[in-house]
């Protein structure tokens, strides 16, 4: 497993394999990308676990109850600020 491609731009930011420029060096901290297979949770066809959490409005949301009998999209993000 080799090191991720990381090229420092003249701005001081870092380029990755996609040519995406960002303040963090690829392979470090928030840009710690997996370089081989990595866990991606439930497989297609598996039941998705229920999530009970609080939203930004203070409402407690029970995922499978809140979506009712309809389809849903659940996105997992790393952070709001970066």
């Amino acid at each position: 497993m080799g090191e991720p491609s990381a090229t420092q731009h003249t701005s001081g930011w870092w380029l990755d394999d996609y040519g995406i420029l960002g303040p963090y060096k690829p392979g470090v901290g928030p840009r710690s990308d997996p370089r081989q297979a990595f866990p991606t949770g439930p497989a297609v066809g598996d039941a998705f676990p229920n999530i009970v959490s609080t939203s930004q409005t203070g409402s407690v949301i029970d995922l499978h109850s809140d979506r009712g009998a309809g389809p849903a999209v659940v996105v997992f993000s790393r952070a709001t600020l970066w």
Partner: protein, 271 residues
């Protein structure tokens, strides 16, 4: 936040949308206010949900605070029965599936290609090249859709291809503004040559090739009008044959001007 702008489309289709962050509620409330986010942002400050789902970023340790606890970012599409019908995870954590792809997976309705590049009509095979989007937002994958319409009685070749024949291929010119993933080609079917008994791997009918592309932000300064475009160029190569004759291999170039958009900026505070 791109998902927010697509929320009306999700709601119209009856699809619920949720985003989970490994951050405290106060941070999510502040972010939602800054960007006018109304879709549910769910707080997971101790990464309990992330661990239960099984996507904790294992390349980090507790010594990597404050980043330890983040997930391998991705998206799940759930069916009416709560089972996973599709999921989108990328090796590069800055890259995401566009909300259109999520909506397509949730509803089963194919996204229609939008921007078409005029290509000189070939002699036998019709070629269409289009992006399945009106613009490329930063870091969000969209598909360049290449469609070859093969007349009845003719076929094109896929891999592995026999010596002397040309396999169907699409190449996008490298650009410092573009990231891309390998082309996704449809499966071929076998065709046995009468006489030699050799098996060829062919395409017939409409052949659709998709190349996921994205815009690398921070590269371009908007012009005076605020609009920003990049040129998406490349070549498509193929060879068509019928049962008796093979035509000269064709190489067609394409060029598409695509509006791009950089990262989101906070909504101005109302006074």
């Amino acid at each position: 936040m791109e998902l927010q702008s697509f929320l009306p489309a999700f709601e119209a289709a009856g699809v619920s949308v949720y985003v989970v962050f490994p951050e405290p509620l106060e941070q999510l409330a502040s972010f939602a206010a800054d960007y006018a986010i109304t879709l549910p942002l769910l707080a997971d400050p101790d990464s309990e949900v992330i661990r239960e789902v099984g996507i904790l970023n294992t390349t980090l340790t507790e010594d990597d605070a404050p980043f330890y606890g983040i997930p391998f970012p991705g998206s799940y599409v759930l069916g009416e029965d709560g089972r996973v019908v599709a999921k989108f995870f990328e090796q590069n954590s800055l890259v995401r599936a566009h909300p259109d792809l999520l909506l397509q997976a949730a509803t089963g309705k194919e996204i229609e290609p939008v921007a078409s590049a005029p290509v000189s009509p070939p002699e036998h095979v019709e070629l269409e090249v289009a992006l399945n989007a009106e613009e490329l937002p930063a870091f969000l994958l969209r598909d360049l859709v290449v469609t070859l319409r093969v007349p009845a009685g003719q076929h094109l070749y896929g891999l592995p291809v026999s010596e002397g024949l040309v396999a169907t291929s699409v190449d996008i010119d490298e650009s410092k503004y573009l990231g891309m993933q390998p082309a996704v080609l449809p499966p071929t079917h076998p065709m046995v040559l009468m006489g030699t008994g050799e098996t060829l791997h062919v395409y017939e009918g409409d052949v659709t090739i998709r190349i996921p592309v994205l815009y690398n932000a921070y590269r371009i300064k908007p012009d005076e009008s605020g609009a920003t475009n990049i040129e998406l160029t490349g070549t498509v190569r193929w060879q068509s044959c019928d049962d008796h004759t093979c035509h000269i291999p064709r190489t067609e170039t394409f060029s598409i001007a695509v509006p791009v958009r950089g990262p989101n900026v906070p909504v101005a505070a109302s006074g």
